[in-house]
Amino acid sequence: MRTTRRQFLALSGAVSAAVALRLDGVPAFAQTGPIKIGVLAAKAGVLAPVGESGLRGVTWATDRINAAGGILGRKVELVVEEESSPKDTVERFRKLVLSDKVDVVSGGISTGVGLALGPVAEEMKAMWLAWDATTQKGVEETIPKPRYAFRSTDNECEAVMASILTAKNWKGKFRTVAGINPDYSYGRDNWAAFLAIMKKYGIEIQVVSELWPKLGATDFTAHVAALQQAKPDLIFSCFWAGDTPIFMKQAHAAGLTTGTRFVLTTGGGVHESLKKAFTPEGALLGYNSMYFEHPRASALMKEFVRWHQEKFKEWPNYESDHGYFTIAAYKAAVERAAKAAGGKWPTPDAVIPALEGVEVESLSGPRRFREDHIMEATFFQGYTTHKNRYDFATIDPVETMGTKQIQKPTGLGLYDWINSWKV
């Protein structure tokens, strides 16, 4: 039964040849019928709400495109699969590409999945437009020069922006600092970025407590107690999931929200759950790359927000825009490539360069893919207020910064870049 080496090699050689043949045999890119777009959206666990939000953006974009006659006259058809553990998600990705023969895959949020899918997309020569999970590791280590993988904005953008605002507006108003961040790469990278930037701005801070609750934890009473002992002037947190309201609620109940400054880089992801009852005014709150109530929101944005509110009785968050952008960008790129090809349908290899540098009007405003396949967008943060018509806090005034300002440029390490700032 055990195949000897020679047999094995001969056999495998023959087989691989046969397989290769067949793979070339199938048209990798059908030119008629609907365009198939694969979607990977988390549906269970901590990521589920974010996954749904992204899926809503994608669906809305697709419906609009189809209503307007599709892409170059071809309707868009979505094949949705679940993002779960890296292993299972890689298998789903393969299914989309090999079995459903989709033209492009949109989605992916979790850092582990992000790290796994990058190489797989390259190996399978399958276009992948991620929504999120652009970790330092994911970008630097896995695929230095990606061709098929297009990533979202850096994970640290929100921290960088929040840190700059903190340094500018609160300099001298705080000295002792505590960090409570989810215990995984996202949390650690953001906290590290914050510390680096404080240092860069020459702000003397003393870290009195560093807490790392598990992502998705539902009880922070012990952490809050630890914070009470530490008595920091400022608490930095990049919570983005259900843990945000729980932490704020328990922190408020313990009286931490009076006299302590809060920096919530990403809380806007679950903004509706940040009830006025326990969310103080004047805290720095980040909404990432989309703020549902931006005073100067585009007509497109207003329309989406209305639709979202009517359909789901919820106000949308940034992930919807990540989703929307991937579809809109793909459409633009295909049309761009087609124009270059004299109107005939472009090959995937022609779409990729068209995606590089493509700029489209996304929900939150103009967005583009950089030549190194990293997304560029505008970030929205601001100081919480209760003066609104909701039962949750919103921000006013709204600060905006572009990724040109808060995202490390191509080829530069995050910290080298931060250190190169002139301040």
Binding site: A222, G255, V270, K275
Partner: protein, 286 residues
């Protein structure tokens, strides 16, 4: 310190349910975490509805407990399913409860969706207290008190009532009490339902202080499991002690060395299993 106790109180309720069922039915019920989650979600829905219907806020606790108890109604049917394999190897019973965990997780997603559910403001209805320089919401104390009194109540139920004697007898020796004409079917149904109730009430009680998320159950199982191992399988006192140990251990770790929060718990669990496999309170009655 109080933080740990608060967590311990909730842990105890779930662990107690686990203990009771194991003590009598010899089933290690992984689904206890799911009951906890269900209780939390229903608690949110019930209170939100009640407040909407004009219930004076301070009374929300009553609604929570009512919701938890009402949910215990799923006890009998679930017990009916488990009954089909009482005569089988423990491994199969463990697996069946694992199946329940998978199913309940999706039931929750189906009914309540994936977004976290929470009660906005009732948490602070009872105000706050200043204890030893730190502010503590009175509701935390309410939960701790509830946990404590339920513990005492269980103690009384098990030692002073006829039902309790039957339960203890069954836990000691099933054949014997069967021979004495005890209706096992009934005892099992009641015990299991009581176990469910402890979990659901626990989930309902904790919810004002936190938010209901679909994975809260799976997260808690492992901790509750740690509690019963440390305390000793089937022992009510063990559940109480174990819950306190785990709660305070985590709180302590968070205060001193956050990195090892969960690690510390597992290490203690293994230490107990190795040094004292029967648990710290092995001898105590179920």
């Amino acid at each position: 310190m109080l933080g740990g106790t608060f967590h311990a109180a909730v842990l105890f309720l779930v662990a107690a349910g686990l203990q009771l069922v194991f003590g009598v039915q010899r089933i290690l019920n992984l689904a206890c975490g799911s009951f906890y989650a269900l209780g939390a979600y229903l608690g949110v829905s019930a209170v939100t509805w009640a407040l909407g219907a004009g219930l004076p806020a301070p009374l929300f606790v009553v609604v929570l407990i009512a919701a938890g108890l009402a949910l215990a109604a799923i006890g009998p049917p679930v017990e009916r399913i488990l009954r089909t394999i009482y005569d089988r190897d423990e491994s199969f019973q463990l697996l069946l409860t694992f199946a329940l965990v998978l199913m309940f997780e999706d039931v929750i997603r189906f009914v309540w969706g994936t977004a976290p559910h929470q009660l906005g403001s009732v948490y602070l209805v009872y105000g706050q207290l200043r204890i030893g320089g730190s502010t503590v919401p009175v509701y935390n104390l309410v939960v701790i008190a509830a946990g404590g009194s339920i513990a005492l109540g269980m103690g009384w139920l098990l030692t002073r009532t006829r039902f309790g004697r039957i339960v203890r007898a069954t836990a000691e020796n099933r054949e014997m009490s069967e021979a004495l004409g005890v209706d096992m079917t009934r005892v099992y149904r009641r015990v299991f339902t009581l176990g469910v109730a402890l979990g659901t009430v626990g989930g309902a009680l904790v919810i004002p202080a936190t938010a209901a998320t679909s994975e809260m159950g799976i997260e808690l199982i492992v901790e509750a499991f740690a509690v019963v191992v440390i305390g000793g399988l089937g022992s009510m006192r063990g559940a109480a002690a174990g819950a306190l140990i785990v709660g305070l251990l985590k709180a302590g770790a968070i205060a001193v060395w956050p990195e090892v929060e969960m690690l510390a718990v597992y290490v203690v669990v293994i230490a107990v299993l190795v040094l004292r496999p029967a648990g710290l309170f092995a001898r105590a009655a179920a």
